[in-house]
């Protein structure tokens, strides 16, 4: 029974990682930019929710939609300021700009909100769900559902609809896409808007009823292995990859930690990530590209 409990909880945490990782993948899928600042987008969303619900005193029914719109706006602004000029630039420039963005946002958030610990509104019921001896946290259960809905919806969008396919072409190659008459600018802007909204949703699920500090951005790094495992272009694959990584982490925490000691559970995703990078860098469902001179 314990085993089943660890597996289910691990899988649900994995689905939360998958939702955060979806932000990476959507931005990559539509702009070929790998956004290292995903964790910062998550806490930015968290702080917007905190601000609208506690400082402005709005009810949750108002504050959450407003926060989602505000974070979409923030995503658009970030894209306008930092990334529009970089269309067609080298991978190094893109990587460095998003890393610059990560550090910049962290400094900005620290400067504006300070290092204080803030309460986060209770969005989902705190009482866990009991099924027999199984104990399932409510926020993760609902969050897992949201992740699956988002994954199905977005992979339909990117694979079946015209705007989605246009964005997919941008991910293949900026120059080719723009010569086909696709607006690379609009595609990247749309990607950042979706990415920022997904991060805010992730923040709400992750932080519901917990406390909020700028250190919560570490979840961005925890979600990295999931994105790589699925392959950076696959949204549907995230669900599977998230469940595998989450279960591996849950079991490692439960069974390996008492033996080895230390925090092998929290490092587990990164061990998986290194393995993937060395064995199959494109992940489970990523695109294989052929290089030409």
């Amino acid at each position: 029974m314990d085993f089943l409990n660890y597996v289910i909880n691990g899988a649900l945490i994995g689905l939360l990682y998958a939702l955060i990782a979806m932000g990476f993948v959507v931005i990559y899928r539509a702009s070929k930019v790998f956004n290292f600042a995903q964790g910062e987008l998550v806490i930015l969303g968290g702080f917007i929710v905190w601000y609208t619900s506690f400082e402005l005193g709005l009810s949750l029914w108002l504050s959450i939609p407003i926060s989602l719109v505000a974070s979409a706006l923030a995503g658009y602004l970030i894209e306008r300021i930092f990334l529009t000029k970089l269309i067609g630039e080298s991978v190094f420039s893109m990587v460095m700009v998003t890393i610059g963005l990560l550090i910049f946002l962290r400094g900005l958030i620290l400067l504006v909100f300070g290092p204080a610990v803030r309460p986060f509104p209770i969005v989902f019921p705190l009482r866990p769900l009991f099924i027999g001896e199984l104990l399932i946290p409510m926020n993760l259960l609902i969050g897992g559902g949201i992740t699956i809905v988002c994954a199905v919806g977005l992979s339909w969008f990117f694979n079946k609809t015209r705007p989605g396919l246009r964005m997919t072409a941008v991910a293949e190659d900026h120059v080719v896409a723009s010569s086909m008459g696709i607006s690379v600018k609009h595609s990247i802007a749309a990607a950042w808007v979706i990415g920022a909204v997904l991060s805010t949703m992730g923040a709400i699920i992750f932080l519901s009823g917990k406390s909020l500090t700028f250190l919560a951005s570490d979840i961005g790094f925890a979600a990295l292995p999931v994105a790589l495992f699925a392959g950076l272009e696959s949204i549907g694959g995230l669900v599977l990859a998230g469940i595998i990584v989450g279960v591996a982490q849950g079991l490692a925490t439960a069974y390996l930690d008492p033996i080895i000691g230390g925090s092998i559970g929290s490092v587990m995703p990164f061990i998986i990530m290194l393995g993937i990078l060395l064995i199959r860098p494109t992940g489970l469902f990523g695109w294989r590209t052929i290089e030409r001179v």
């Binding site: 620290l110 990078l277 001179v293």
Partner: protein
Amino acid sequence: MDPSGIFSTSYRKDRQLVRTKWQVLALLAFLALLFLAPAYASPRIIAIGNVMLISAIVAVGLQICTGYAGQINMGQAAFMGVGAYTAGLLASKYQMSFILTIPLAGLSAAGFGFLFGLTAARIKGFYLALTTIAAQFIFHFTVLNLPSSWMGGSNGVTVPAATFFGIRIATENSQYYLILIYAIILIAGAFGIVRSRFGRAFIAVRDDDVAAGIMGINVARTKATAFLIGAFYAGVGGALWAYMIRFVGVDQFTLFNSIFFIAMIIVGGMGSITGALIGVFIIRMIQEIIATVGPNIAEAVPFLGGDIVFSSMNMFLGGVIALFMIVEPKGLMHRWNIIKSSYRIWPFPY
């Protein structure tokens, strides 16, 4: 581009680094300025100079790996840490002289770097960036989780002062000379490496690794060599750091520090040793200014809180990286080269 009237008449002359009489004079004057610094500068300035020189060694190593060979390396601080720990442990546990420990530190860091260089043979771009970030985490995790009798764990390692024939190198000025001599040797070596056969292979791999492979360059070995050399520089820098601070802790070598080194070469200019030196000077200067001015601002504007130094350091670093990548991706050295060639051919446009 050479000034008018200066022509290279042989291959040897064409490869010369110092090409004109004025350049010889300027170089000698600059070296004299550096060597005489303790005579005219205050100990505080010398201490800043020490940090700058060590950063210069590490950043030049990163320049070779990232700027010349094009391999994104976000683990330079971890490589530096490996060097610092090697030197610190050898000096404190086995009482080895710094003449031995500093090269050994370089070699051990080079070995660690070489391991990650091997992965670069298979992957590139931001996958490589991720792997080198992993180097950073592996370094932290290993140091903190090994028994503390091995590497000191979270307590760190206290390093005895370097001694040279009975002279303790413990004051700022004596450390300055130790670091300066190493910096000059390594930076001169870097100028040699990048115009040698290896340097040309690095540049070919950076520009297009598939094409370089077709031309007969062993791409995997070149990439691994680039990491090896870059990490060697980082290791020597780390060892000097250990002797300067006299204490090695895992918090001195974080991902944040690695990104600072990358910022230095971006600001100075990718693919130029002189650019790396300029970048080190500018970034360290501004860091020093923020660290000095920050507390005063915090006092004057209390609602911003005491974290202003840390947070504004973050905003400065992130902002400067993004700004340079967007506005001047080739760095200040590129701008300087444009100015130089335009005054040399003045009054003609080209």
